[in-house]
């Protein structure tokens, strides 16, 4: 049974901040011929400013679909999505493009860096089109790569490449950072470095961060942990005491 109704009765430290995302009865159905796949089933959920949310769940539980809808990469089949009280449910492609460009940063499991550009230039690709970006060097310093500015992706480890991807995502000062399995391709130590970078961005820039993961060990660093299964939220848990990434074990 979906527990979205329980969310109202649970106290979250972050609820003192205003909601940045508000979703109401969001459903997503994919049609493959005669077969309908319900990726999301009538979700009600809020995301708050400055909070760090971890979305847990098995494959096919709807985490990525939810993230894509939040990021304006996909649209719900029914229900409503509000970003700062603005209804994005029926927004045009142009508005969604504007929304993604100005407010949302994406981080994927694979870094998707341009191989022929250095770390600084990869970040500059975004800062050149963003509205009020930080300098590429500043973004890279935030993720601890100030000494790797002129290195090409092939000259960096997987963790460093993922941190460049994080720098690229935060360089435009997004209000929301959406991360789909950011540590999925990384080993334990490198994964921690990347999580440290995400925590630092959340802490210092106040960027609302949502991280999709299969790894329940990461849940300890979140303000809230949302567990999904079969397109429904089955549990929402708030952490009274967040752990530092260095304290996480998995």
């Amino acid at each position: 049974m979906p527990l979205h109704s329980q969310s109202a009765s649970v106290h979250f430290a972050s609820q003192s901040c205003p909601a940045i995302f508000h979703i109401e009865g969001v459903t997503k159905v994919y049609r493959m011929g005669d077969i309908e796949v319900h990726a999301l089933r009538s979700l009600d959920l809020d995301f708050y400013e400055r909070e760090f949310v971890v979305l847990l769940g098995p494959s096919g539980s709807g985490k990525s679909t939810l993230l894509n809808i939040l990021g304006g990469l996909d649209v719900p089949s029914s229900g409503h999505l509000y970003f700062r009280n603005q209804d994005l449910t029926y927004a045009s492609d142009a508005i969604l493009t504007r929304f993604r460009r100005d407010y949302v940063g994406f981080i994927f499991q694979f870094y998707n860096l341009i191989p022929s550009l250095t770390a600084r230039e990869n970040v500059a690709l975004v800062t050149e089109i963003a509205r009020r970006p930080m300098k590429p060097e500043q973004a890279l310093e935030l993720v601890g790569l100030h000494d790797r500015l002129d290195h090409f992706p092939a000259q960096m480890s997987g963790g460093e490449q993922q941190r460049v991807a994080i720098a690229r995502a935060i360089a435009k000062r997004p209000e929301v950072l959406l991360c789909d399995e950011p540590t999925g391709a990384l080993d334990y130590q490198t994964g921690k470095l990347v999580l440290e970078a995400l925590a630092q961005v959340n802490r210092e820039l106040g960027t609302t961060t949502a991280v999709i993961t299969h790894n329940a060990g990461i849940a300890g660093m979140a303000d809230r942990v949302i567990t999904m299964r079969s397109g429904e939220i089955i549990n929402i848990q708030s952490n009274e005491h967040k752990l530092a990434p260095s304290q996480l074990e998995w």
Binding site: Y30, N68, G72, L73, D74, V75, D93, L96, T97, R100, R101, V104, F106, F108, F110, N112, L113, I114, P115, S116, L117, E121, N122, A124, L125, V126, E128, I129
Partner: protein, 357 residues
């Protein structure tokens, strides 16, 4: 310089071998195009200039025999600018050094050299002299093919009588650029040639003195040849006319015009092959860059399967973009996979595109 320009320059440098190869292929294609189209235009212009300069007729007709007085009536047909009556006969030739007989087409010329329709350009030698029945000018192609020269004599059976023809000149005519006998498929310059003979001598030999069996017309501008042909046929009908025809149906002109026209087609087809190959190289080079970077996202076991999927997806995206102007939001999984896996797309999706579901 912005980051995308850095990317462009580095990618070009990385692919410099292919870029140079593509540039050379494109250069070859363009060079061939320019060379062939220039040749075509040059030949087409030369053809027209030659026709104009040597007054190539616009309407032709053959008949059995008509009196010269008919010329006035032909001249009176509306739209006719100039009329040239001639005697034209095919005869059997005995060519020195050749075992088999050849065919010669004897075409009459005025005894005195005057500007006429289908005029002859004298390449060697001189014009025939009046009242010298044995003097002829031979076509250059026949002379060359049979290794003849000025002063050589060729035997001919003219109206049943053996006669020697003395070659005093070698000429060219717009009417016989290609020398083909009616019924032949290809020119055979050893077996068929054109000889220009004095009108009086030829008319006398074939009992056509004061008469003609061939007529050529030029027309005034804007004249419809078919209207003239109709009236000419009416006039020539009592005299055994075989049916007049316009320049477009004249056999030599047909051959030469078709060859020039083929050159124009080749000027488009051959460079297209080069440019097509170059386009394939460009597409392959561009996609291979993405293959390498996107391979890590690929779940296919075989790189060939992956490349095939990639090409198909590429074509789908191209077609849908061409046909609908944009990709459908609910596009196929292949398209989604293609878009989601390309490095550049991932970057651009932040700002301008929307991923398909």
């Amino acid at each position: 310089m912005n980051a995308l320009n850095y990317k462009l320059l580095r990618d070009l440098w990385k692919l410099r071998g292919q870029v140079i190869a593509i540039a050379l292929v494109v250069a070859c294609g363009i060079a061939i195009f320019i060379a062939m189209i220039s040749t075509y235009q040059s030949l087409a212009t030369s053809q027209l200039a030659y026709y104009r300069q040597y007054r190539f007729a616009q309407v032709f007709a053959q008949l059995k025999r008509a009196p010269e007085t008919l010329i006035e009536q032909i001249q009176a047909i509306p739209g006719v600018a100039q009329v040239q009556s001639r005697v034209v006969m095919d005869v059997t030739l005995d060519v020195p050094g050749r075992k088999e007989p050849a065919i010669g087409r004897l075409v009459s010329l005025p005894e005195q050299q005057t500007p006429i329709l289908n005029d002859v350009f004298i390449r060697q030698g001189r014009y025939i002299e009046p009242r010298r029945a044995e003097e002829v000018m031979a076509s250059e192609a026949f002379v060359t093919a049979n290794h003849l020269k000025l002063g050589d004599r060729v035997g001919a059976i003219i109206n049943g009588r053996w006669q020697q023809l003395n070659i005093v000149g070698v000429g060219l005519s717009p009417e016989y650029i290609y020398e083909i006998r009616g019924g032949d498929v290809l020119p055979d310059n050893q077996r068929f040639g054109v000889f220009w003979v004095g009108r009086k001598a030829l008319g006398t030999a074939f009992n056509l003195d004061g008469a003609f069996n061939d007529v050529a017309l030029s027309l005034t501008p804007q004249t419809n040849p078919q209207a003239v042909i109709f009236q000419l046929d009416q006039l020539l009908k009592p005299y055994g006319g075989f049916g007049a025809y316009e320049r477009a149906d004249q056999i030599s002109n047909q051959f030469i015009s078709e060859e020039i026209s083929q050159l124009r087609s080749q000027a488009i087809i051959v460079p297209s092959i080069f440019l097509g190959i170059a386009a394939f190289f460009v597409a392959h080079s561009t996609l291979s860059v993405d293959w390498h970077s996107a391979r890590s996202n690929c779940h296919s076991q075989s790189i060939w399967v992956w490349q095939l999927e990639y090409w198909l997806a590429f074509l789908k995206v191209s077609f849908s973009d061409c046909i609908f102007g944009r990709c459908d939001r609910h596009g196929s999984r292949a398209m989604a996979r293609f878009r989601a896996s390309t490095t550049l797309h991932t970057l651009l999706s932040f700002s301008s595109f929307k991923l398909s579901s």
